[in-house]
Symmetry: C2
Subunit: 464 residues, 2 copies
């Protein structure tokens, strides 16, 4: 069953080319929040989105900043509140993107969006510009064909998602009245498979830290001092192998103490998902072998088991060729993904303590916390989640499945705890979209599907 | 006893300001051989040295290149061969310098030479421009005051020392006739202490390699794939800890098999050297503790024991902030210092084999060899080494000591084996000169001392 599908369907079809062109314009703006040089691009992305929200009929368009972070990236707010007595839906998305490096692995430039094999290829195509823009276009379509919306709508589009910024949290806590809503829609996740629409009901949390290891006070020549000088990279290697065993087990004392395994029914449902581990390895992960804890399935290892990864080890000599330096210091960027009910603050404390204990004689380590996110599990029994299921079914066909995601969307925990609103995670992406990787893509078909699903979802929430 | 000291002494004093100014001009040229962008600076350094060699009375000035490395950095040749029947001395030095990074740790810019506390501070001040330039000025002084030289002299000044380039080897092998000599003088090492002139009679060899570790074919998001994706940094950490134990022992099978310990007399002489381990740690290494193999002295650990160091680990995300990437690949730049009679080719083969065995499931490693150097020990019984001892004693005062150096000067092995000439390693630097580090320095007094020692040395070789 779909609700009034024909007019929206026709509108989306009629405006397909313009809509895709607009998204391409947005993707051309390199709004990279981690690189200060792109500050002006952040503003350009905001200008663009303001204009499109206005086109969609939104009002009260405003750039919200936190007084505690005056130089933070503004959160874009807009609303349409002319459906008294009807529920209010808050759409969340983000306009910032990851850096595109390594640049040389892109087949086409990351900020020159290109349609290839039915996919729009660009940095941010799926994460999250394409999915966030589907919200705006879904509202636009519904309002265009009906002259109004069946429910009240708010938009909250942030610019620090990829950098773990705090502006969104401060803004949400400050503007509780302005953000009152009955549910939050987040589209920053992926479907389980093409043609298998999914609702995410679990997200892993995160602690992202950086260990700095300091040996001598200055860089030393490895010929003259090799044999006596402490080597920060060697020390970091010992810390890393001390934090995580070859069997994938994290060796930080107490690390697993609070881990709550999924219910038997949830584990059983995961077993029914169509999945070939061999195909997943060969076509998606594309690695010689999968790694991780023995005794746990791929779904458990990526959705319901915590893990630890090293992302980069700055310091020393990294150019081509050889330089015989024992660097004074080196770092390791390390993150841990957390699952219910691990607590980031507690895990960070245990991690810091473990690093201290593992630091070899001759060196001093310090740990810097970059950011954290709470792990969450969503209650699936409310009407908004059910409306999401129906909208996805009507739009994409196939019975939607409840899955989890290994990634972290810190705001989902924020909305859950501060706005007290259920979060409906309708992801329009696909598992191989290559978020944060070269050649990130978003299926053009899923972009249009996302627009139709948003319009359908809102219609289902209209008061009877 | 010094030989005809007065005129040379007076000349050096009279021309002190000009001489130091010339060295500063040379140090202003950022002739960094590891960075292709500095190619034009290499040419400027060559132009400068050609002019100064001509001023010193040299002839046959020529830039030698290897047909096998047409884009290699030329080796500068010059000679003065008007002392028939007298020995021929070949002076070796290099005009290339290390990159100056980390730039922010320099108190004054690395290529704006500054005299501070009696030291000339600049990249290359001691390694090797200042020491090499003392050769040229020593020859100039002696010729200026005598109208001629008592021996024949050749200069060979290369531009790929810091990059481990092969041009010098090819040039030496091709130009055997042109380079015929009775001894080679190399000043690219340090005195044991201020006022304690030293002759280096041992150098460690080296194998410098880079391990590339490849996991998935593309960068992956650590949220979505953390728990199954192979992590190249984690794998490198396991390889590094598998190559070297926490006790400093290198765990590569067979690694120590050919190591020849120093003779009992040599070890006994090292014990007599004035040395405070605590002071060395606090004032020179400046680290919380010294590291390395237990049961060996600092001299043994840095001069006669092999070791292994990590210099940099390129790959992944190294910018400020957090990026949740599991990189497709990462590298580790690793060098091993070798001692007599370890063989670089054999060690490299064992290292590669060990890396292969230590590579965890899910990843593929490959090893690239950047460069090697043979370890050497010099015979101290010939007249050139004895003349060196006398020249240092006359110039710097104090009884010269025979020491070794932990560093590698690959050409020393080349001269020994190809030119069959004894190598006299007269170092004018000091142990805390900070080679390859920020704020590299060369004592101005040692620069002038080097000039006088070179002139003195040549006079001692005059036929009776």
């Amino acid at each position: 069953m779909s609700v009034h599908p024909a007019p929206v369907e026709a509108y989306v079809r009629e405006h397909a080319r313009r809509t895709l062109g607009e998204l391409q314009d947005l993707l051309r703006i390199p709004s990279i929040s981690t690189l200060p040089a792109h500050r002006a691009d952040m503003d350009r992305a905001l200008d663009f989105l303001e204009a499109r929200l206005r086109d969609a009929g939104c009002e009260h368009i405003e750039r919200l900043v936190s007084p505690r972070h005056p130089n933070g990236m503004p959160v874009l707010y807009a609303d349409w509140l002319h459906a008294p007595g009807a529920p209010t839906v808050l759409f969340y998305g983000h306009y910032d993107v990851q850096p595109p490096d390594p640049l040389n692995e892109w087949l086409t430039p990351p900020f020159e969006p290109t349609v290839r094999d039915g996919n729009l290829v660009a940095r941010g195509a799926a994460d999250d510009k394409g999915q966030m823009y589907a919200h705006i276009k879904g509202v636009e379509a519904l309002r265009a064909v009906s002259g109004k919306l069946p429910v009240n709508v708010r938009f909250l589009i942030e610019g620090e998602e990829e950098v773990g910024g705090e502006t969104i949290e401060h803004v949400v806590r400050q503007q509780l009245g302005k953000l009152a809503c009955d549910c939050v829609v987040v589209s920053d996740t992926a479907m389980f498979a093409p043609g298998m629409p999914s609702l995410d009901v679990g997200l892993r949390g995160m602690v992202y830290a950086e260990i700095e290891m300091r040996g001598a006070e200055r860089d030393l020549h490895s010929g003259l001092y090799g044999g006596v000088a402490p080597n920060p990279f060697e020390a970091l290697a010992r810390v890393i192998t001390g934090l995580k065993g070859q069997d994938g087990k994290i060796l930080i004392p107490g690390f697993y103490d609070r881990v709550v395994p999924p219910a038997a029914a949830e584990l059983a449902a995961w077993k029914r998902l169509p999945f070939s581990e061999q195909q997943y390895r060969q076509e998606e992960v594309r690695a010689p072998a999968l790694t991780g804890e023995t005794g746990y399935s791929v779904f458990e290892r990526t959705w319901s088991r915590p893990t630890l990864d090293v992302h980069g080890m700055p310091g020393g000599f990294t150019g081509p060729g050889s330089k015989t330096v024992i660097p004074a210091r080196a770092s390791a960027k390390i993150s841990m993904r957390l699952v219910p009910n691990q607590q980031p603050a507690e895990i960070y404390a245990s991690f810091s303590e473990a690093v201290k204990k593992l630091t070899p004689t001759g060196l001093v380590s310090s740990v810097h916390l970059w950011n954290t996110a709470d792990p969450i599990v969503v209650d699936t029994s409310n009407r908004f989640v059910r409306a999401g299921v129906e909208a996805l079914k009507a739009t994409f066909g196939g019975e939607p499945v409840f899955v989890r995601s290994g990634g972290s969307v810190p705001v989902v925990a924020l909305f859950t705890t501060v706005l007290k609103a259920p979060v409906v995670m309708m992801g329009f992406g696909l598992p191989d979209d290559g978020l944060h990787s070269p050649n990130e893509k978003f299926a053009v078909e899923n972009f249009y599907g996302g627009i139709r699903a948003v319009a359908d979802f809102l219609q289902r929430l209209a008061p009877k």
